[in-house]
């Protein structure tokens, strides 16, 4: 896949401040067109008071095919905003967002998005929630339900097909949301703190499951999280964002071997080293964000 603009503007070059820590990874090839590319993206919101609030400023980021990229940053810095721009749910105020080399407009069927807040349909039972994607996309009903059943089993909800969302626990609802997204077999997977509502055990299980699914689908993932350990355990690259307005503070390549076991990799000395390095960067931003919150209240 050739793209004429590829050589003109490689993703990392317009941001001089991002440290040159990128080492070519073995899993994905660096020279193909980035699957996702944000170029100098700025996003402003109109506040109810009539002023503008800048959520993202000059954010540049690119994700290679098959890459697992974690976005981490203090609360309210603009992580969800970034994902909604990639998903085409919102448009940037300046700069451009490219998916598979083309400017985003509207929804792209190749994208799957697990939302931060509950977004399963309360009037559909588990089976129909999971089957919703294929049914929307015109897959025959029988086949869609068949596939939904197998996905429900994979996220550990077999036997709960007839339940409505209000009859499930928060963690179970989250798993419905995951199955609902995965069933479409997206090439690009956007995940906004998908596991933060889960207990530690289920979370580890789901993280391992996610890594397996990811390698099976060979999807590119943008994974938003608050949790640095989770980011390092899962990702190929961790991207630290500054306290709002968000821009890239640092990008770290996670050179831990794959396949990884999420539960065990935390004890790896290299993991500890990476954690230490990234935390140095992240801590300042978290403090800034915290100070701001204290002053405004």
């Amino acid at each position: 896949m050739q793209h004429p603009q590829r050589n003109l503007s490689p993703a990392s070059s317009p941001t001089p401040r991002s440290p040159a820590q990128e080492v070519p990874s073995t899993r994905y090839s660096k020279d193909s067109t980035p699957v996702i590319e944000l170029r100098q993206v700025t996003k402003r919101f109109l506040t109810p008071g009539g002023q503008t609030y800048t959520a993202l400023r000059d954010l540049s980021l690119s994700v290679a095919p098959g890459e697992f990229c974690a976005l981490i940053g203090p609360t309210g810095c603009g992580k969800s905003t970034t994902l909604s721009l990639i998903a085409g749910l919102d448009t940037p105020s300046a700069g451009s967002v490219l998916v598979m080399g083309e400017e985003v407009h509207g929804n792209d069927p190749r994208i799957g998005y697990v939302f931060q807040t509950d977004a399963v349909f309360p009037w559909k039972n588990v089976l129909h929630n999971v089957a919703a994607g294929p049914l929307f996309r015109g897959v025959p009903r029988r086949e869609a339900l068949e596939r939904a059943r197998s996905w429900i089993a994979r996220v550990g909800l077999a036997g709960f097909e007839d339940r409505y969302p209000h009859q499930l626990s928060g963690g179970m609802r989250k798993r419905v949301a995951l199955a609902q997204t995965f069933i479409n077999e997206p090439q690009i997977l956007l995940m906004d703190e998908p596991f933060s509502a889960l207990d530690v055990q289920t979370r580890t299980l789901m993280e391992n499951e996610l890594l397996q699914l990811w390698s099976a689908l060979s999807a590119s993932v943008v994974f938003v999280t608050h949790d640095l350990e989770e980011a390092i355990a899962l990702a190929d690259r961790v991207c630290v964002l500054t306290a709002g307005p968000a821009t890239v503070k640092g990008i770290y390549t996670i050179d831990l071997p794959r396949p990884r076991n999420v539960a065990e990799i935390r004890f790896d000395p290299r993991f500890v080293q990476l954690y230490h390095d990234i935390w140095e960067d992240l801590r300042d931003e978290v403090m800034i964000s915290y100070e701001r919150a204290k002053h405004s209240s």
Binding site: A87, Y113, F115, V120, P122, W123, F136, R154, H166, E209
Partner: protein, 296 residues
């Protein structure tokens, strides 16, 4: 099946604690609930007997003037007469069927129009802003006052009553549908769009089910309003119907007749309430508690 999910499957085997529910505790719970049900029903009946008995007694002792306020035995007699010998305007069931037909027709047309316009304006911010003031103005008119107008324009037949019922029902359903569509969770819309829903699917699978909660809540009151529309229309001028029955009873100082006709209307309204509640149960199965269970 795929292999890698053994851990999840093992976890799932402990996910069915309800299989071992303590049956004795459950039986006790059911018993307690049944006893409570029985007590409430008995007390309700007692209350009714006391009320009607008091009224009858008061009338017989001369504390209540039964010429003006009627009495239960008189009302009962009036009902029996109507059922057995028909009313002055013809058989009783014809009167009931007439009013019911007008109310039902007005209700259906009003609901369909109300939902259509509610959804249209709820989805179209431009139209909503454009027409907003006019709709609010129209809503602030006491609409029963349109009855004479409809009688002049549409005649003494059932059309004028249906029209009044439509107008009464329309605004209730319209405002609820409008609000319901406005309140649709943006997250759910975004999710459906990402999952691949087109505009029609978005409407049918997200907007409508979400607004249905509001719409169905409005149906409870709007059928009563349809009945009011039909009856008031009949007051103003008609050849048949319960409204005319009440009108005639009032004109001949027959208080028992007024009450008897009122009782018939109440029975019709109650019946419709049962049907709508059943509909609600069916359509809103997914809700934690149906609206009708929260209220009385």
């Amino acid at each position: 099946m795929s292999e890698p999910n053994t851990l999840l499957e093992r976890q799932q085997s402990i996910a069915h604690p309800m299989a071992e529910t303590d049956s004795a505790a459950l039986a006790a719970l059911v018993r307690r609930r049944r006893r409570r049900r029985w007590l409430i029903n008995a007390l309700r009946l007692l209350l009714l007997v006391a009320l009607i008995g008091g009224w009858e007694l008061g009338a017989r002792l001369g504390l209540i003037d039964s010429f003006f306020w009627g009495r239960p035995s008189g009302i009962w007699q009036q009902l029996v007469t109507w059922v057995l010998h028909g009313t002055a305007q013809g058989p009783l069931w014809v009167q009931i069927a007439m009013t019911l037909e007008e109310a039902l027709l007005g209700f259906l047309i009003g609901v369909v129009l109300g939902i259509s316009f509610g959804v249209l304006l709820g989805r179209n911010a431009f139209l909503a802003e454009l027409l907003g003031p006019y709709i609010k103005a129209a809503n602030s008119i006491p609409r029963v006052t349109l009855a004479p107008l409809f009688a002049i324009g549409l005649g003494l037949g059932s059309q004028s009553k249906v029209a009044l019922a439509v107008v009464l029902v329309f605004f209730i359903v319209f405002f609820n549908a409008f609000q319901g569509v406005r309140e649709v969770d943006r997250n759910l819309l975004a999710n459906a769009r990402i999952l691949g829903a087109n505009r029609w699917q978005l409407f049918r699978e997200v907007i409508l089910p979400s607004a249905l909660t509001w719409i169905i809540a409005s149906l409870h009151t709007s059928f009563s309003f349809a009945l009011v529309g039909a009856v008031v229309g009949e007051f103003v001028g008609s050849i048949e119907g319960i409204g005319l029955l009440i009108q005639n009873a009032g004109a001949t100082f027959n208080a028992n007749g007024v009450f008897a006709a009122m009782l018939i209307l109440a029975a019709v309204a109650l019946l419709s309430e049962i049907v709508i509640t059943a509909l609600e149960r069916r359509l809103l199965r997914w809700r934690p508690t149906a609206l009708s269970e929260v209220t009385l």
